[in-house]
C-alpha cells in the first residue's frame, strides 16, 4: 500500500517539479510530437500547454525546420547523441520572449538529450536556458576590453610621437653646444654665434613643445582650466595680430583684418581664445606664399560669432584632411617655410573651441589656399 502511495506521490511530485522548473522543458516523441510543455515555456512562448501538447514541434515552429536544432533533435532520436546549442553560434532559436513582451526576445542556450525507455520507446528532451543576462554581461566585458586596448594603443602612439618630437630639437641643441664646447672656433666668431642661435631657438622650441604637451595632458585629464569673462573679440584679434607681427618679417607676409563691428561683448576664455588665434595666425603665415596677405575676418551670425583665417598657400592634401586636428601630424608640404610648430596646436585649439560649445573646421582648395574658421556661441 505504501509503495503505491510512494509511486503516486513520486510521479505527481516529479511532474510538478519539472513543470515549475526555472528553465524551459519540452519532451517530444520520436515523431517530434510534443508530449510535455512546462510553465516556463507557456510564459516565454505565449503558447499554452493545451495548444502545444500533441502538436508537431516543427509545425508549431516552422522557423526551426532544417535548422541546427532540428538536426540535433534527429541525432538524439536516431543515434542517441546529446547536443549542446550555444548562444555564441546560434542566435536564432525558439521564438521566446521575456515577460511575454515581443520586443524583448530571449537569448537561449539549449540542451538536447535522448531518452530511451525500457520498452525501447525513444523520446527527446529539450531544456531551454535563458542566456539574456549572460549575453549582456559578455557584451559589456568585450566593450571594456576593446576600449582598454584602444586606449593603450593610443597612449603608446602618443608616447612614441612625443619622444620623437622632443628628440629632434634636443639633437640640434646637443650638436650646436658640442661644437661650441669643443672650441672649434673663437667664441665671438660668426659660426659660434650661429651655433648659439641654433641652440637658443631649439631650446625655445622645446619649451613650446613641452607647454603644449602639458596642455594636451591637462585637457585629456579634465584639468584644463577655463576662465570665462565678457570680452570683445575684435580687440582680442587685433592684439593677437600685433603680437604675431614678428612673423610678417620671418615669413614675408602681411595680415589684413576685416571686422564686424556689430559683434557685442560676450563670454569666452580670453587667454584660451588668444591661444587659438595665435595658432591659426602662425599656421596661416607659414603657408602663405611670399609677399602674400593672410586674411582675417570676424562675422556676426545668428546667435554666434564666426572667425576666419585664410591663407593662399597650397591647400591641405586630400589624404591628410582627416588628420588635421590630430596630435603630431603636420602636412609634409615641400615648399613651406621651415615649419617649426609643435604639431599639437590644432589639436589643442579644437579642444578649446569644443569646450566653448563652438565649431572649428576648414575649407581647402588645392593650390588656392585654406580657410580655417571657428565659431563661438554668443550665449553659453
Amino acid at each position: 500500500m505504501s509503495n503505491n502511495i510512494d509511486k503516486l506521490l513520486s510521479v505527481e511530485l516529479l511532474t510538478e517539479v519539472v513543470n515549475t522548473n526555472a528553465t524551459g522543458i519540452i519532451i517530444i516523441d520520436h515523431e517530434h510530437n510534443i508530449i510535455f510543455w512546462n510553465k516556463w515555456l507557456e510564459d516565454a512562448s505565449l503558447i499554452q500547454r493545451n495548444d502545444a501538447i500533441n502538436q508537431n514541434l516543427f509545425q508549431l515552429f516552422p522557423i526551426l525546420e532544417n535548422s541546427r536544432i532540428h538536426k540535433a533533435i534527429d541525432q538524439s532520436i536516431s543515434k542517441g547523441n546529446a547536443s549542446f546549442i550555444s548562444y555564441a553560434f546560434n542566435k536564432n532559436t525558439f521564438p521566446l520572449f521575456s515577460n511575454g513582451n515581443k520586443q524583448k526576445p530571449l537569448k537561449q542556450i539549449l540542451y538536447i538529450k535522448p531518452v530511451l525507455l525500457k520498452n525501447n520507446q525513444r523520446y527527446c528532451y529539450i531544456q531551454i536556458n535563458d542566456a539574456t543576462a549572460a549575453a549582456t554581461r559578455e557584451q559589456q566585458l568585450r566593450k571594456m576590453a576593446h576600449d582598454a586596448k584602444a586606449l593603450s594603443d593610443l597612449k603608446s602612439g602618443f608616447v612614441s610621437s612625443v619622444s620623437h618630437e622632443l628628440r629632434t630639437p634636443l639633437t640640434s641643441i646637443v650638436g650646436a653646444l658640442g661644437l661650441l664646447k669643443a672650441g672649434v672656433d673663437s667664441p665671438s666668431s660668426e659660426t659660434s654665434q650661429q651655433m648659439l642661435n641654433i641652440a637658443s631657438s631649439n631650446t625655445e622650441r622645446l619649451l613650446l613643445l613641452i607647454n603644449d604637451i602639458l596642455d594636451i595632458e591637462k585637457i585629456e585629464s579634465g584639468k584644463f582650466d577655463y576662465h570665462f569673462s565678457k570680452e570683445n573679440i575684435n580687440e582680442l584679434i587685433e592684439v593677437s595680430i600685433k603680437n604675431n607681427i614678428g612673423l610678417t618679417e620671418k615669413y614675408k607676409v602681411k595680415f589684413s583684418f576685416v571686422k564686424d563691428a556689430a559683434i557685442p561683448d560676450f563670454s569666452f576664455d580670453k587667454d584660451r581664445i588668444t591661444q587659438v588665434m595665435n595658432n591659426l595666425i602662425s599656421n596661416a603665415a607659414k603657408f602663405e606664399p611670399d609677399n602674400g596677405t593672410v586674411e582675417i575676418q570676424s562675422l556676426l551670425e545668428n546667435n554666434k560669432v564666426r572667425i576666419m583665417v585664410k591663407d593662399h598657400g597650397e591647400g591641405i592634401p586630400a589624404l591628410f584632411q582627416d588628420k588635421v586636428f590630430q596630435s603630431f601630424t603636420q602636412a609634409d608640404v615641400s615648399n613651406t617655410k621651415n615649419i617649426a610648430g609643435t604639431g599639437l596646436g590644432l589639436a589643442i585649439s579644437k579642444k578649446i573651441i569644443e569646450s566653448h560649445h563652438g565649431d572649428i573646421g576648414f575649407d581647402t582648395i588645392e593650390n588656392k589656399g585654406t580657410l580655417f574658421y571657428f565659431t563661438l556661441p554668443l550665449t553659453r
Binding site: R68, K71, Q75, K79, G80, N81, A82, S83, F84, I85, S86, Y87, A88, F89, N90, I109, Y111, K113, P114, L116, A134, A135, R137, E138, L141, R142, A145, H146, A148, K149
Partner: protein, 206 residues
C-alpha cells in the same frame, strides 16, 4: 597493449575522416566560413604516453570538452587543445578579436558546442563499426594541467590505461589548429573494439 596494423589504421582513419567531414560541414554552416577537419593520425596509446605528448605540445595547460558515452562502447571522449590554441580556435570561429587572456563564459560555451559536434561525429564513426548505437551524454568543459584533465576523465567509468587517440587538424581561413581526440574506454570496450574493427574490415573485403 593493443597495436593497430596499417590496414586497421587506414580503415579507421577513413571512417573517422568521413565522420569529421560531416562535422566540418556543420561547423562551416555555423560560422559561415569554410572549416576543414582531417585526421592525420590514429593509434592506441598508453595514457602516460598521451599525457607526456600533450605536455610537450601544450606547455602544460590544456582545455577541452568531454562527453561520456555508452552502448556498444563504454567510456569517455575528450577533445582537447593546448589552452592557448583553444582560445585561438574559438576566436577564429567567432571572428572575435577581444584581447582577453582567458576564455570568457561565452567562448567556453562556443568551445563546448564545437567539441560536442566533433565528439558526436567521432562516436557516429565508431558506431558504424559496430553497426549499432553508441549514445552520448552532454558535453562538459575542462581545463587544467595535462595530468589533472586526463585523470579527471575517470569519474564514472573505470577506464583503462590504453586509450584510442586521434589527432584532429582544424583548418579555418588559412589558419591551422591541431586538436586531440581521446577515447578512454573500459577494458571490455577495448577488446570489443579491436574485435569489431577486424570484423568490419573483413566485411568490407567480401
Amino acid at each position: 597493449m593493443i597495436e593497430l596494423d596499417d590496414l586497421q589504421k587506414d580503415m579507421l582513419t577513413e571512417l573517422f575522416n568521413l565522420g569529421m567531414g560531416n562535422a566540418g560541414s556543420a561547423l562551416s554552416e555555423m560560422v559561415s566560413e569554410e572549416v576543414l577537419l582531417s585526421i592525420p593520425e590514429i593509434s592506441f596509446m598508453d595514457k602516460n604516453e598521451l599525457t607526456a605528448l600533450l605536455e610537450v605540445d601544450s606547455g602544460g595547460h590544456i582545455s577541452g570538452v568531454s562527453q561520456q558515452f555508452s552502448g556498444m562502447l563504454l567510456g569517455q571522449a575528450l577533445l582537447t587543445f593546448p589552452t592557448q590554441k583553444s582560445l585561438e580556435l574559438v576566436r577564429l570561429l567567432l571572428q572575435d578579436s577581444v584581447p582577453l587572456e582567458n576564455l570568457t563564459e561565452f567562448e567556453e560555451e562556443a568551445l563546448l558546442e564545437v567539441g560536442n559536434i566533433i565528439i558526436n561525429a567521432g562516436l557516429s564513426s565508431l558506431a558504424d563499426i559496430f553497426d549499432d548505437e553508441i549514445s552520448s551524454d552532454l558535453p562538459v568543459f575542462s581545463s587544467g594541467s595535462c595530468q589533472d584533465v586526463i585523470k579527471s576523465q575517470n569519474k564514472t567509468v573505470n577506464t583503462q590505461q590504453t586509450v584510442l587517440y586521434l589527432q584532429v587538424n582544424f583548418s579555418i581561413e588559412k589558419e591551422k589548429i591541431k586538436g586531440y581526440v581521446v577515447y578512454l574506454l573500459d577494458v571490455e570496450s577495448i577488446e570489443s573494439l579491436a574485435a569489431h574493427i577486424d570484423n568490419y574490415i573483413s566485411k568490407l573485403n567480401i
